[in-house]
């Protein structure tokens, strides 16, 4: 095939026509990963060459670029250039002002990630931004993987993986359902060369509710199974047992002075009548007394802090907190096990890809009296034995004192366990409604409410609770408020309150109309944007129930709307009106029986919402009898 010269103008018009809705398109997105045997093991060297053309927008605004790399990597080379159209060619303008920072805006207290920031000069439509970096990793457990850009199309791009003969690798592609790259494999000078070609990759439309990019962006995980080392074959990550063994090799082996830890265990369990009660009390002590602080510092990111240190500091990360809980249970002979897990943002299971990228969290498994309890103390208000919302439905790796391990799937917590039931009784005065209510929260719903309620400020608590319990209209006002069960993890949380909603009724002649939809506004289902391409996610499955009773006078008659019911296995809504002497009761229940709702289900969901809203538009008619 002949090569023909293409002027910057030609290239710009061609790409602009091809990607009319995009700000940028990659004209090069080439990653070249070489895995080579060295004296000490395997060196992974990744060269990323990325060049994108600016298709829209005004070059007057500054354009920021960055290079981020972890503490396990070294940045060997970087080159950043703006390519400015200049007649038939591009003129290169090198970026020189680089600033480095290492305190991110994320929630970690400390991590070893570094970012180099710079500004691209002269980026007007038609200009190209070129960036080339070479990053090396010398620990074979941290082989870099390939990620396509989530939102920018790739006109031309490839991933080339070159592997020395004596390195056994495995690659696993994810999120390639809508795009199939052209794959080829060959042998070149004794090396295995695998190439994926991504020309014409369209990328996802950016929307603010898209969720974690890892869940929809196409990527290829690469892992080294084993290699021929100095002393023969060395396993790296052949299967989950290698990952488990490697994790165990990192755990601290030194003796730990557990005097403070055991003293606390004695104190906390003094009143416990059963082993289960003791286990619960210890768990709650850690939940409430140890503050979670995320620390990710090199290998410390994989190594739990000593139990005594976490206990004395009163803070720790997930590994430190699990290790302390482990030490506490072991001190009284309980069978607890350190357990690794990936949060729901991470798609992989250990069966599929046993790598350090598969998990990012540590919890504890407790086997007690024939029951197994999963314990995550990083959530101060998580009920005993419940996995946290972010790890439910995931595979866990449970270590039996590093002798052996087991993989287990955690169930998704059922909606029944995470209920909010709001029961109110109310009365009408003129156009206003007032009354009293009890909102009962269980499971994750209780956890969520209490985690946001960590202040002692009375005004804040009122505002916070009002947001949760808002119903009827925004004239909903809480007059008094009290809590029960907020300090006891074993009983539901009850929020007792009195309230007013002025101007809720509409009068016409001798009739009054009242929309008695008293369901909590924050839990009413909302439609999903029609062009959303990624799953709609909830934190957990839940039921929001509203039981509302309206008392009326003997001289009033009330006409009630029709009942309504619509359900399928993912979600349902029921509303029931009943009437007895002097009162009517509306019972409504919203069931959310999913965590991920996929784009193929969006139309049905939106139709369902329409019907629900229609049912909720029905009003009560209150008539004052004329006798």
């Amino acid at each position: 095939m002949g090569v023909f010269a293409q002027t910057p103008d030609d290239e710009f018009s061609r790409l602009k026509e091809k990607y009319p809705k995009k700000d940028y398109a990659y004209t090069k997105f080439n990653w070249d990963l070489q895995l080579s045997l060295t004296e000490d093991g395997v060196m992974s060297t990744l060269m990323r060459e990325e060049e994108r053309m600016c298709l829209n927008g005004n070059g007057g605004l500054t354009r920021e670029g960055s290079i981020t790399y972890s503490g396990f990597a070294s940045l060997n080379e970087k080159e950043v250039v703006t390519m400015i159209p200049n007649g038939g060619k591009y003129k290169k303008q090198k970026v020189t002002g680089f600033t480095e920072y290492d305190i991110g805006s994320g929630n970690s207290f400390y991590d070893d990630e570094k970012t180099i920031k710079y500004y691209w000069p002269n980026v007007n439509p038609g200009a190209k931004q070129y960036q080339k970096v070479v990053i090396a990793y010398n620990d074979p457990h941290f082989t870099p993987s390939f990620f396509l850009p989530p939102y920018i199309p790739v006109n031309e791009g490839s991933f080339k993986l070159t592997v020395d003969e004596d390195i056994d690798i495995e690659f696993t592609p994810f999120n390639f359902e809508d795009f199939e790259p052209v794959f080829s494999e060959e042998e070149r000078r004794g090396k295995r060369v695998l190439t994926w070609n991504f020309n014409g990759y369209e990328a996802t439309k950016y929307q603010k509710n898209n969720g974690p990019e890892l869940r929809f962006t196409p990527h290829i995980l690469v892992r080294i199974r084993s290699f021929e080392g100095k002393y023969g074959a060395e396993r790296v990550l052949t299967d989950a047992s290698d990952l488990h063994n490697w994790y165990c090799s990192i755990l601290k082996k030194e003796e730990d002075d557990l005097s403070e830890v055991t003293a606390i265990v004695d104190e906390v369990t003094r009143e416990a009548r059963t082993d289960l009660e003791a286990a619960q009390l210890i768990y709650q002590w850690v939940q409430r007394n140890i503050k979670y602080i995320l620390i990710s510092d090199g290998m410390k990111g994989f190594q739990p802090e000593a139990a005594s240190v976490v206990c004395s500091n009163r803070f720790g990360d997930c590994k430190g907190m699990s290790n302390l809980l482990h030490a506490m249970y072991q001190s009284i002979g309980f069978d607890s096990k350190l357990t690794w897990v990936g949060t729901r943002d991470i798609l992989y299971s250990y069966d599929e890809v046993p790598t350090p990228m598969t998990d990012n969290h540590m919890i504890l498994t407790l086997d007690l009296d024939g029951e197994r309890y999963i314990l995550d103390a990083t959530h101060s208000r998580l009920p005993f034995g419940m996995p946290s919302p972010m790890i439910q439905g995931k595979q866990v790796m449970i270590s039996h004192d590093c002798e052996s391990f087991e993989l287990q799937m955690m169930p998704l917590v059922s909606a029944d366990e995470n209920q909010i039931v709001d029961s109110i009784e109310c009365w009408v005065h003129d156009d206003d409604v007032s009354g009293k209510g009890v909102a009962t929260f269980t499971g994750f719903s209780k956890m969520m409410f209490l985690e946001g309620q960590s202040s002692s400020d009375a005004n804040y608590l009122k505002r916070y609770t009002r947001e949760y319990l808002l119903k009827g209209s925004n004239r909903f006002v809480i007059d008094s408020l009290s809590f029960e069960g907020d300090d006891d993890p074993n009983i539901p949380l009850k929020v007792n309150y009195t309230f007013r909603i002025d101007d809720l009724l509409t009068q016409s002649g001798d009739e009054k109309y009242l929309n008695f939809n008293m369901s909590l506004k924050g839990f009413e289902s909302q439609p999903i944007e029609k062009d959303m391409q990624t799953p709609f996610q909830l934190r957990f499955r839940t039921i929001a129930k509203s039981v509302a009773t309206l008392h009326f006078n003997d001289d009033e008659e009330v006409t009630i709307p029709e009942n309504f019911s619509l359900e399928n296995e993912l979600y349902s809504f029921h509303v029931n009106y009943s009437q007895s002497k002097g009162q009517i009761t509306r019972v409504a229940e919203d069931l959310y029986n999913f965590i991920d709702l996929y784009p193929t289900d969006f139309n049905d969901w939106n139709d369902y919402i329409k019907e629900v809203k229609k049912a909720n538009r029905q009003n009560l008619i209150i008539t004052v009898s004329q006798d």
Partner: protein, 652 residues
Amino acid sequence: MRSLILYALTAFFSFQSFYATAQDLLAEYTWDDRDWYAMVDRESDSDVQILLREKDHEFYFTEQSLEELYFFRSVVYLNSEQAVSDFNKIYINTSNAIQLVDYNARVIYKDKEPKNFGSDALKSGTTEEGDSYEFFAIEGAEVGAIIDYYFAIKKHANYDGTHFQISTSSPIHSYRCRLISPPGLIFSATPINGDLAIYRDTTDTNHRVLRIEADSLPAVKGEPFSNIARYNLTCFYKLQDNLYSSSHNLFTYGTLSQRIYENLISVLDKKTMASIKKDLKKAGVDTKATDLEKLRQIEDHFKGTIGVTEASAPGLSDVETILKNRVCSEYGMTLLLFGAARLHDIQSEIVLTKSRYDVPFVDSIVNYSLLEHYLLYYPSVQEFTAPKAQLYRIGTIPFGYIHNNGLFIREVKVGDFMTGAGSVKWIPEYEVDHSRHDMWVDVEFEDDVSNVLVKMREEMTGYNAINYQPYYDYISPDGLQDLQEASVKSVAEEAEIVEVEIENEGVANFLKEPYRVKSSYRNSNLIQVAGNKVLFKVGDLIGPQAELYQEEKRMKDVENTYNHGYYREISFSIPEGFRCTNLDDLNMEVRPFSEGHTYFTSAYRVELDKVVVIVKEDYNALILPIERFEDFRKVINAASDFNKITLVFEKE
């Protein structure tokens, strides 16, 4: 701003005869053992109580310059889990520090021994903004504990004017600050928003010591429609006199104005002006146009082709480099706009100010820390512009700068010499009609009166347009539809939009033509049913309104962001076969201010078969005293009450 001032003041202290080192100044610090728990207010529901806050700014000479040892100590009672989360990590900003000299922390418990910890846990890092920090986690913090920590940093002295905020969102039981200097350096301190005991402590004869103290300071918390900066007790200080050089009344606005002006003029030399002129040629400024039009064309050119960044690098304020790289700092854009106006013989005044939401520019205080940002004022057209604000143009500056003072520096001739003269003047707010959001809404009932088709025309100006109109020049085509629909969605979130047509989009139209959105949408939520009656939620047509329904004791005056007004005209025909029984509900009049400002009214009339509702709402007093808060609340809630109006259609 800072770099320019320092540039003007180097070598100021070069002949001092005695100097000290930080090590001399900071003796080994020992904890004092007071009964801290006796200070805790048991009745308070505050998450945090600051039992003691101590600060020292100790100035001392070195061989080359004046340095400062800054000491900070805080003793904090933690009353909730939120407080533990907020205070278990301590960050020390060391950006301007020469050295972190010392730090320590301990946790005090009610019923056990305090936990002291050493200095091995210190970590350091740099933020994206370029600030460097040393930081550590507080070990052993828990609800009911008291944390006590201090640090001391050595830094280049900040003596030409600075301020610090004393009050916080938590109550402070005791506040103690000292400004310590060699005897010949006299510092002055002035508070705003409250009283401080400021007095000279003569017990230390080797130093001049100014004490700044306060007890029992209440928490200062934000409230809706208020400006917390007017309530935060804040102290300004600066070096007033240097007896070693017999210099008095230092750091005045007069001398600074001269320096700033002369510096600017020296930068804008012949060659630089020629470069600006060459670049400006591309804009094709119409020489016959009015000053206002010329200034707009100049600004459109530079702000449209050069990015203004927060980053600091030498090239960002150098005109030649800016014109090549098309990126500049705030000062860089100020130079360009000032120089370009000069090329067209339009006089500009440099204005230095600070956002009123950071700290109000009080005219009785002379302090360089109030001079944070640049504005330009053009006397011939009596308008301001903000060089830093990329999307703003002459005639509108970000609302933090309005209703505030600024230092205005104008060109004056002294003999044959041109220099700058500064005076503090008021930067006024804009009138109500500067920022409007008006709408004309026409409603048609459909499908047996179970749905409505709404045709709406919206017009937005000023601050009400800034979040939409200019962004069309920068929006990705992928995001275009969202931007077009944004104002419609803000009125009717769940609307099923049929079509949207935009007029006057883009920066070029901003402040010249209203941003206009013509849309039509369906919204079945506007219709409710009661038996065979139809309930038309007409009030929702104006979109959800701000409300102040939940009652809390008001502590502050009302302060609006900017004056703004709304005109809404809603018309509909009562569906055939129905009559409306409660049209009079549409009449509302809330005018609590006899002065005629800040009101909400709604009235309807019937024209042939149409009902036309006119809703007017104006906020044309930026500040209202706390005594009028209830009246203001009535107006705010009136708009939200209008949302509740439901018309009843019954069969004829």
